[in-house]
Amino acid sequence: MKSPLRHACGAPPPRTGDELVVFTDRIANAVRLTALSPAAVAKGLTPNLTLADARARFPELVAIERDHAAEADLLARIVAGLARYTPMATSQPRDGAMLDISGCAHPFGDERGLARDLAGRLKAGGVTARLGLGDTPEMARARARFGALEGDILALPVEALEADAATTTALRRAGLKTIADLACRPRRMLAARFGDLALRLGRLLGEEDRRITPERALPPIFALRRFAEPIGRVEDALACLEDLLGQAAVSLLDRHAGGRRFIARLFRSDGAVPLLSVETGRPVRDPAIVMRLFRERLEALSDPIDPGFGFDCVRLDVPATEPLAPAQTGLEETRDPAEPLAQLIDRLAARLGPHSIRRAVPLNSHLPECAAMLAPPGEPGAWRRPTDPDPPARPLRLLDPPARVDVTYGLPMGPPRRFVWKGQAHEVARWEGPERIAAEWWRRSIAADIWRRRDAEDHNLPLPPGAGGLTRDYYRVEDADGHRFWLFRHGLQAEKGRPGWYLHGLFA
């Protein structure tokens, strides 16, 4: 843990230690200071000051935007490290940690010894920390934030109750400035006037104890079965795997999670470990569904699993899980209508590979070959459906790459009269066009010679057409037999001397 705070906050390494470093947040459309370095506090800067005001006072201010995700990350790492003192450790957002050290202090002598050790460790890690000890979590928190390690709790200001701002202000206005002022008053009166303040006070004074919930990393979900004797049939191993899936399903249900990836390992007695892995499109728990996927996967293997001298052990891992609420199957069959299709997709993906199942998603491009993309089936994509009675403007089948065709035309920039494709001549009976589709010059790098040409001509012309690609003139044509084609001329006369013709698509 090498100076994680600095890593987390992205601050430069300290040079002298007295730069005015402040961290800022955007609050209600104003950039305000939310965390300050000791030097900045010493200069009189306070949190909640706007950055503009702070800069006006100290132009040399180093302002860094707060990265809350990185801070939470760091805090989680610190809390994980605190597990060396007690298993009951939890984070207190956004910058605190709470440890229940009941019965954990004896290796360090007493609680003070533990606190000393903890402070030293945090300091070595580059973390500035304030510690507080207390009989209840609230008491420890108040001491750490508003007092000293074991300071007098009654001397703390009323802010230590951490009630909302209005309550604190009201208390101050009433002349109640410290906890001692409140502690001697009847609780019932406080409760009548300030609601939960009496409860907070009770907890702070250690009259009422509330346990903390420790943070513990969830153990990975797996199930394992060893056999006394190696089993020689793959079928038996699969039956065992189904059993393990049932066990895993119970653990998954406990966590309200479903598996996205399942890995089965069959440990062969000679050391080989064949591995089967399946993935699902949505979290699942049902052993039957996963088992079916495993069987699909097994069938799709080019060479089947060889049991050799038998399997010693079968292990199932669920490395990827996602939340999945427990569902109650009622007497009436009310099933999610989307579920069977998702299952079908998973099954096909297990057999054919995930790249074989696709949905078409529209893309924002005029170029026909870039107008759609084949995406994973979960990908949403809204297609605009035409509502006018015009004939389709885009072909049912797009040729990729376009096929070169020989075209006879009347005028150089006119429509095609006749074209030959795959050795077969088609007379154009009807046509429509051109639909001019220019190259997306904003996407391509612009050829240097075009700029040179522009400079040489010494004209302040706009970018010539065809910069970064040729313009295409598309024609929708129908031949005498009724076949409908999509042809284009690649390039304007200005761009290319003899533009070529291509067949880009076939209409239904």
């Binding site: 009675p389 004939p391 009347g410 009807r430 129908e478 409908r484 239904a508």
Partner: protein, 244 residues
Amino acid sequence: MSESRALTAGRSPAFSLPSPAESPLRRPLGVAGLDAALGGGIARGRVHEVYAGAAGEGPSAAGFALMLALKAGGAQGHIVWLGPRETLPHGPGLAELGFAVEHILFVSVTGEKALLKAAADIVRSPAAGTLVVDAAAAAKAIGLTESRRLTLFAERSGVTALVLRGHGGQVPSSAETRWLVTAAPSTPIEMEAPGGPAFAVDLVRRRGGPPSPGWRLEWDRETGAFTPLPGAVPADTGVRQLAG
């Protein structure tokens, strides 16, 4: 004998599947005469075959099969297209024909064996809705046995399967209907421009009914229905003034 009885008893859960409907649900195509010839419309939960009339008629046959799928499955039904990667339909083209492209799933396979297996898998799952199998390149792979299997699965699951065959000779099959599709000259729109999709369709075979050849149909994307093509229009001879 006892063994077979035991097997039957053991397999009894299989009979909890929906039993094949004696008379399938039929969805009308929108052309009165053709619907009458079909006995009410295109049958759901059956296999239908679409042959291309000639070598270059692949797109027309594919388009017609997709339109049949849309009629059989309804506007919001799922369509699964299964076929080789090279001949997958173009998304914008489908949208232009009036399809809800977000409800179409493309499954690409290589090889005849994989195609057959995947087709059987999809037809068995009621979730698929309607399946279009592009078997134009695998015309020989789907024989009588394979088509009977698909029919059995389709009857159980209620999935309508449309099998696209190439333009080769017709092979025996257990399909409900068999169509022969070629492109037809379209009804020209203004400026003598080519119109919407138009087909010359022969219903060459129908189970339990006479064939009905010689239909000329047009696809109206606005209503998502077939309409009879008005009488043959003489094609433009090509002598025209250049527009603009």
